[in-house]
Symmetry: C2
Subunit: 282 residues, 2 copies
């Protein structure tokens, strides 16, 4: 375990949260920020900038630095093929890459994981390194969900349970038992903005503080990649959409700064509830 | 069958298409346009304007005019309770109405249907009166779907099949096997606008003319209300979203002006395919 941990860093606050957790646990780390996505704040750490499509370079650098375990964390949007400059190693993998790009996100990420494992690295989930980033079970802030919200949560979980196997979204909005928005390629923030807009133009009629954002990982999703996440910006979106709160699967959704999240939710009067997988009513 | 057919008219072109079909079939009609939704062009026909929340008035007028069969057709958005002026008959039904408003659209419409049947009217599907408004099976215009599009259609149908029982949307967009947008409260037009936007900002990466809009009624949906519809505006939205075509369930989706639809699709180079329920691959 003296080998430094390789952290492939996408955008957002998560990469440094994970790096700090690993360092606190006494682990050496090397960051591999992805150009175009990762924040320059990674430069305060041992790091090597990398580019999508240059897997050969990354593999050599990871070996040179003695890395064996590797973590993927942060946002990286699926790139347009013509924007990628491939190196030879990657070019040889292209037929495989193309077949992966045809599937949903899950296939792509599972494929990327396989490539690393075939090259001799061990893929580790960010939450294994930094368990503190996982949302715990129960009520998180000062506000508790009301009875009606609990019903909405149950309905949202039923809907996500049937959609997950089809690799569709990790989130939706339920109001009074009615699913009013489903998240797919647009992501949570844009889905919440849509709900706010549909309320403003009268297309959704519901009293203020009604409805819940429900998020959980897709069934069968490889949790070493791309767990759904939550942050102060989510709280803002939920507040603008006039919802009562947020419900996420405990242990299945990550938060970079839990303190900031809870403060934002309390200020906005919004509940955050971590539900456990066992408790699904059907 | 000499009793005039009552047509409760919401917005859009469908009410007159149905009225004309009924008249062509030798049937007398009386239109009951809903104030705030129906177009004033209904005034060229025998008509009585009605208001949401005034079911007692409607019932009396339908009886006075000797109507027995009643058709619902056209768009009526779910109203905000405080915007409705109820009459006594409706007020007495309010506890029932509130329990209906808590459910999804299906519950609401099924409940409305029950009220009419309890009052002695017979609810008829618009497509029973005007079968021509139903999309037929097979290729509709000049453009045929390619192999890749057929795969996307199959994937979209699988996804809609699992979502329908949960009363979620009647439509979605599939690209390369990946569901990139799911329609819920926003409706088809806004979903298509979203896909166009996600393409424009690079969030969805796919070549032009890739992807399919798939629509079908929800499983168990009462087809006497609210069949999904298609029109020239849908073609416009599909074209702006850069999709290859539209696939809808034959006999399960309505079109007010099929000629106009096909001309628009041909001009835009977009396919329209009516699939049959039997052909679902799972």
């Amino acid at each position: 375990m003296n080998a430094p941990l390789a952290i492939i860093c996408g955008g957002g606050a998560f990469p440094l949260a994970v790096a700090e957790a690993a360092r606190r646990a006494g682990r050496q780390v090397v960051l591999f920020p992805v150009r175009g996505f990762a924040d320059t704040s990674v430069e305060g750490w041992p790091h090597v900038w990398i580019q999508i499509g240059r897997f050969g370079f990354l593999k050599r650098e990871m070996r040179r630095l003695g890395c064996r375990d590797v973590v993927f964390i942060g946002n990286v949007l699926r790139p347009r093929i013509r924007d990628i400059r491939f190196d030879w190693t990657t070019l040889k993998l292209l037929p495989l890459a193309f077949s992966m790009l045809r599937g949903g996100d899950d296939h792509l990420l599972t494929g990327v994981g396989r490539l690393f494992e075939e090259a001799g690295f061990r893929l580790v989930g960010a939450h294994e390194i930094a368990p503190d980033i996982l949302v715990p079970a129960g009520q998180l802030g000062a506000v508790a969900p009301e009875r009606r919200a609990m019903d909405d949560i149950a309905q949202g979980r039923r809907a996500l349970a049937v959609m997950g196997p089809l690799d569709i979204g990790q989130g939706l909005v339920v109001m009074n038992g009615h699913v009013v928005a489903v998240e797919a390629a647009e992501g949570t923030d844009l889905m919440l903005a849509r709900v706010a807009e549909l309320r403003a133009n009268g297309r959704i009629k519901a009293p203020a503080r009604c409805g819940v954002l429900v998020k959980q990982p897709k069934a069968g999703q490889d949790r070493r990649f791309d767990l759904p996440s939550l942050g102060a910006r989510t709280v803002e979106g939920v507040s603008r959409a006039g919802l009562a709160g947020i419900a996420v699967e405990a242990g299945g959704v990550i938060v970079a700064d839990a303190g900031e999240l809870v403060r934002a939710a309390d200020r906005a009067g919004i509940f955050i509830e971590g539900f456990t997988r066992e408790g699904v009513e059907t």
